[in-house]
């Protein structure tokens, strides 16, 4: 397989206050086995050698676990593949001569720090508001002390797989963080360990979500389509049910 030449159009922004612009790059020698981030690494090596500023992008694990690499590729958060984080996307998805537009996840609550890197601490503050359980610290408790039905634990685990990448916010036409918040609530409220703070948690996380400036949910379900772990918007329906239970 011969190497490809890819045309890149990448958002460059010096800092939060800079207005930002797109810059075009032509990158030759792109191998189909490269991951998307490796392709960006090659671009950055080239930029550094030429004495230019490399493109800043977030990553950590590069194995679809950490959620850092959320970027919007040709208008789709994490790129064209379902249930795939940008780091797990490979260049074999593209053909020689393709143009790829790369933008940061855009939301008022996610200010751009530099280029493709955004500040996602708004999601952390939603977690701080109630995305935890109160337990005694110390030695880990005996695993079978609190029995949890298998199907309940499976469902809770499905929601616990949220990696907090913010693709749901990036893809939502309203920039809503409902899928993120709902997946955390559906995970914790479902388990016996999460029960004591159930109502308090639900109200606090919903309130924080709005305070951070995320938009309203319009049930577009685009969040479910871009979620790299495939969390269903059924969780958003569940969040509404939990909220109703909490306020009455």
């Amino acid at each position: 397989m011969s190497d490809m030449t890819i045309n890149l159009k990448i958002w460059r922004q010096k800092n939060t206050n800079d207005s930002g612009h797109f810059e075009d790059y032509i990158l030759a020698g792109v191998n189909e086995h490269m991951s998307f981030l490796e392709m960006l690494d090659v671009l950055n090596e080239k930029l550094i050698k030429e004495g230019n500023d490399p493109v800043e992008f977030d990553y950590d694990c590069r194995e679809g676990i950490c959620g850092s690499c959320n970027m919007v590729i040709n208008g789709k958060a994490h790129g064209p593949k379902h249930k795939t984080a940008a780091c797990q996307l490979h260049m074999r998805t593209y053909s020689d001569g393709d143009t790829i537009v790369i933008e940061p996840p855009r939301a008022g609550a996610f200010p751009v720090i530099k280029d493709l890197v955004v500040d996602r601490t708004a999601l952390d503050r939603i977690i701080e508001a109630g995305g935890y359980i109160s337990v005694k610290t110390g030695a880990a408790p005996e695993a079978n002390l609190i029995p949890v039905e298998q199907d309940v634990s499976n469902q809770a685990f499905d929601y616990a797989t949220c990696i907090g990448c913010g693709a749901c916010v990036a893809a939502c036409p309203n920039s809503s963080a409902s899928l993120f918040t709902a997946s955390k609530l559906s995970h914790l409220n479902r388990l016996p360990q999460g029960r004591p703070e159930r109502s308090k948690r639900t109200i606090a996380m919903v309130e924080q979500m709005e305070k951070e400036g995320f938009g309203d949910c319009s049930n577009y379900a685009e969040c479910e389509a871009v979620c790299p772990v495939g969390i269903s918007i059924s969780s958003i329906a569940e969040m509404r049910r939990e909220y109703m239970k909490a306020i009455f």
Binding site: K9, G108, P173, E210, N219, S232, S234, A237, I247
Partner: protein, 235 residues
């Protein structure tokens, strides 16, 4: 702990309120459609139906005010969500597209604010034309004198602007309900993924039936139907 009033102003509360008011409006629309379709029934059916409703007196006014309130809340929340959307994403994407799959992004869902605002404006004109319009009297078969709403309807839809304008708006109503019915169920906490797919299909089919049910009437009248019964001049 927020008060109920505060809770229904939260993002989640607003959405639940949109769902509740939406469902109530769909019930009203179905009720309204049933009345409209009376035009195809017995020559007296439409006027007797209107007479029957007017018999309720003050109760009818309570229903009207309630309906107006529901409509205003639904529209208010919808418009405010749309306005907030720009604030929530000050810089828009250069390229944006749906990833498909489970996504419910469609012309119907993306145009909810537009179709909603058109329907809001339409309702004002609609009430002015039919509820407040000049109506003569008609005599039912049993000799009761009633408002002749049927002749007003037939007269109005002789005008191509009304006939085709109404038809167009009813297509937009169908588009609004295409996303709206399913969305209301999701807002009102429908959790099952399988049921969600079924309800989405039922919602789209119901939206088509409702839109077609409404729009056949102006078209039927404009193209000459119902003229003989009303004994009026038609084009």
């Amino acid at each position: 702990m927020p008060s109920l009033l505060e809770a229904f102003q939260s993002q989640v509360g607003r959405k639940i309120l949109t769902g509740i008011t939406g469902v109530l409006l769909v019930f009203f629309i179905i009720f309204h459609l049933a009345g409209n379709l009376a035009i195809f029934g017995d020559p007296d059916a439409m006027n007797s139906y209107s007479y029957f409703l007017h018999q309720f007196g003050p109760l009818l006014w309570i229903a009207r005010i309630g309906l107006l309130l529901i409509f205003v809340i639904h529209a208010w929340i919808g418009i405010s969500i749309w306005l907030k959307k720009r604030k929530a994403r000050p810089v828009d994407y250069k390229v944006y597209s749906s990833k498909g799959g489970p996504s419910k992004q469609s012309l119907s869902s993306r145009s909810m604010a537009f179709t909603g605002v058109v329907l809001l404006i339409f309702v004002v004109f609609h009430i002015n034309t039919f509820a407040l319009g000049d109506m003569g009297d008609a005599m039912l078969a049993d000799g009761t004198v009633v408002h002749d709403v049927k002749t007003l309807v037939i007269d109005t839809f002789q005008n191509p602007l009304y006939a085709f304008g109404y038809t167009f708006v009813m297509i937009l109503l169908g588009a609004h309900l295409g996303h709206g019915i399913w969305s209301a169920f999701t807002s009102l906490t429908l959790r099952s993924k399988k049921a969600s797919a079924v309800i989405y299909s039922i919602g789209v089919i119901a939206a088509i039936f409702i839109a077609v049910g409404f729009l056949v009437i102006p078209l039927y009248i404009y193209f000459g139907g119902g003229c003989d019964a009303a004994l009026i001049h038609c084009n």
